[in-house]
């Protein structure tokens, strides 16, 4: 690049932050996570379909295999991801609807709510897994 005669003046001009050194605001994280969980849940619909089809096949119709797979480490990881995704998308979806009504745009409030939503969704997913793990699920016998 050619020598710029106005180098000093340019250097003091405010520059737009470069992506790689830009501090990610937590609200940006919540926004992209809403999209990611929405896409994950869309794929997760396949698990729901699989579960319902296995049930509809009746006794000894693949339901036991589904349950065995669900209880395997990989199955539990996927189900935990799906549970957290739904919890996150639920809480943040609630906030989206509040935004649509014009509430919650204050910067500090939006940042605080973002942290709350991450924490609340993680706690919900852990609580649901704890309920099932400690044998308090399956109450619809």
């Amino acid at each position: 690049m050619a020598e710029n005669p106005q180098q000093p003046a340019l250097a003091t001009r405010p520059l737009s932050p470069h992506l790689t050194i830009y501090r990610w605001p937590v609200t940006m994280m919540t926004s992209i996570t809403h999209r990611a969980t929405g896409m994950a849940l869309t794929g997760g619909a396949l698990i729901l379909a699989w579960w319902l089809v296995a049930i509809s096949n009746g006794l000894d119709g693949g339901y036991q295999q589904f349950m065995a797979l669900a209880a395997s480490p990989l199955g539990m990881l996927v189900l935990f991801g799906a549970t957290w995704s739904l919890a996150y998308h639920f809480f943040n979806g609630l906030r989206h609807l509040a935004w649509d009504l014009g509430y919650g745009f204050d910067k500090k409030l939006a940042e605080r709510n973002s942290v709350i939503i991450f924490a609340l969704s993680a706690l919900s997913a852990i609580a649901i897994f704890a309920i099932v793990w400690t044998g308090h699920g399956g109450y619809l016998q």
């Binding site: 929405g38 619909a45 729901l48 379909a49 609630l94 989206h96 649509d100 649901i128 099932v132």
Partner: protein, 126 residues
């Protein structure tokens, strides 16, 4: 300057996007409906976790439970198709690819939804 728009185009007022706020509005309506439905879904899924086949068979044999599950499936997949369309709109800029992916998403939700609904019918009706 005289506009190149036809009178019909001007009256519709939709411009280059070909559609108005309908998509946005349907995404919100389905989101509102999904809030109670997903709470019910969590109740049902936790309640059926780890049971043997007869528990979910009996649960979905009850018409109310089958209807609620069908509503959750239909409204989720409708909401998902609307949502994924926005994601495609944001990242894919060639019209041909866009239309191809829109069709693929519709195929996905119709196939997945049909599988769920036929399964529910088999359990609760037949």
């Amino acid at each position: 300057m005289k506009s190149a728009q036809t009178p019909l185009h001007r009256v519709k007022g939709l411009g280059a996007s070909h559609s108005g706020t309908g998509h946005f509005w349907r995404e919100r309506i389905t989101a509102v409906a999904l809030m109670p439905l997903s709470l019910w879904f969590a109740y049902a899924a936790i309640g059926l976790a780890g049971t043997s086949t007869s528990a979910p068979l009996q649960f979905f044999a009850h018409p109310m439970n089958a209807i609620l599950m069908a509503a959750f499936v239909i409204i989720s997949l409708y909401h998902a198709a609307l949502g994924v369309q926005v994601v495609i709109d944001d990242y894919i800029h060639s019209t041909g690819m866009k239309i191809f992916l829109f069709l693929l998403v519709r195929l996905f939700v119709i196939a997945t939804g049909s599988a769920c609904l036929i399964a529910l019918l088999r359990i609760s009706v037949f």
